[in-house]
Amino acid sequence: MPDIPTFDIAIIGGGPAGLTAGLYAGRGGLRAAVVEKLMPGGLVANTERIDNYPGFPEGISGYDLAQRMQAQAAKFGAQFVSDEAAAIAIEPKSFLVRLSSKAQLRAKALVIASGAYPRTLGVPGEKELLGKGVSYCAVCDGAFFKNQDVAVVGGGDSAVQEAVYLAGLCSTVTVVHRRSSLRAAESLQRVAFRNGKISFSWNRTVVAIEGGTQVEGLRVMDKETMKEEVLPVSGVFIYVGYHPNSAVVKDLVQLDENGYIVTDENLMTSAPGIFAAGDVRRKLVRQISGAVGDAATAAVAAQQYIENL
């Protein structure tokens, strides 16, 4: 058995929170590992344009922002481990992280920055037509629907933002929302309302996604009249919220009823030495600026914890 690589801090997740924790830990002189199962950047990397991250008045593409964050973390010495944290064991004064590749690493403190993954609608056709018109990533798949009619399900920031992106490619975009007004930020709403290609289907719930080898329509129901209709679209982009990626620590730390990690004001979880930052944590606002702020606190608090060990 080769020696298990040992770090001061292991950071689980390489989104904005994880990359920022890596930056702070590295700058603080700690040996930090950032474990990321996909691509550094997290959800940000699949966002076309970010307009509310301070310092970029013209906006910045999610891909660019992710790359810059990664470069900055690397500059201060954070090490990237391209793997998935599969299990965590608590040892005296350290943690053992088992990775999906069966490799392991050990650290004195952990920062859980594993974010969240898109929630599904759970309607017939959704699973069957995934990749055949059903998508959770407009920047990945939008190009397949050039000059076609698509629907976006949801009414929050992500839904409206991605509807605007898709309107740049597609003939028409219908936003299907179960309420009569959007939850998205005012400024986003204004952009969407002004866009001639975007229309809104209010008070509708999705009943099913229809089609054989490809999506052919979205069956929706009017919540007041209970009448159903089928929107003839070839793409359905779903943005209806998120589930936290907290499975890896579910038996170690306290979670709230929705699976989000509960922390104290220094972002320590119920398990001493395990900190949480970003979207995976119980909180009101899930945005990049918040994830980044969390991570700074968590990394510094983790450093103090290590120094007091």
Binding site: M39, G131, C137, V139, T213, G235
Partner: protein
């Protein structure tokens, strides 16, 4: 304008110096005209080349059915073949830009070393495959979930001579995307029949690969 910033170059140079063991020949099929992504693909390769003396380039003007195209089984361009100690069957069709650039870099390292980061169980299963399997992984450059899917396919090719694997940039080859009914990426197609949706974990990928090899 160079694509790679100074600090990226520095990082890659160090990465290659540390990890490349054997030479890697980048065989590039291109065409002067009527190929929108050939020139930008060439630029990516040309910027990589000086970052390690283990890298070399062999460029061919693409002619369907020509000796070289036949030898490497190339039927569309731009096409990149990575040749290490041998031709492992690692191909890129279309530009390896955006997120796929990281795939190209990781593949160069694996091809140079002739080894992959499969878990030991996965590696044993891939090596035991006794029938040819051709893998196509459909991607788009803006898809953050795509590189892991391409990497798994290319790693399988490196581990077993009977497996060949290609990245296919969907928007450049719409007829292929259409043929396989691809409207979302990543999509992995084994031997044109078995299909895998999304960025799958290693175990699921192996399961599908073995299904295709049965």
């Amino acid at each position: 304008m160079p694509l790679l910033k100074d600090e990226d170059q520095k990082y890659l140079r160090a990465e290659f110096a540390r990890k490349l063991t054997g030479p890697v020949k980048i065989v590039f099929f291109t065409q002067a005209q009527d190929c929108m992504f050939c020139q930008p693909t060439e630029q990516i390769i040309r910027e990589l080349l000086p970052l390690s003396d283990k890298l070399s380039l062999e460029t061919h003007a693409f002619a369907p059915g020509s000796e070289e195209a036949t030898r490497y089984g190339i039927d569309k361009i731009p096409a990149i073949v990575l040749v290490g100690a041998k031709d492992y069957g690692v191909r890129f069709y279309g530009i390896p830009a955006g997120f796929e650039f990281s795939t190209l870099v990781a593949d160069i390292i694996d091809v140079s070393r002739g080894e992959t980061s499969f878990s030991p169980e996965a590696r044993d299963k891939v090596r035991a495959i006794a029938k040819p399997v051709d893998i196509q992984v459909f991607v788009s450059p803006t898809c953050p979930y795509c590189p892991p899917a391409v990497r798994l396919a290319h790693m399988a090719a490196i581990e077993n001579g009977l497996v060949t694997a290609a990245m296919v940039e969907s928007t450049e080859f719409p007829h292929l995307a259409h043929q396989y009914n691809v409207a979302g990426v990543p999509r992995t197609i084994f031997n044109g029949t078995v299909s895998l949706e999304g960025a799958a974990p290693e175990a699921l990928f192996i399961e599908k690969l073995l299904e295709a090899a049965r």
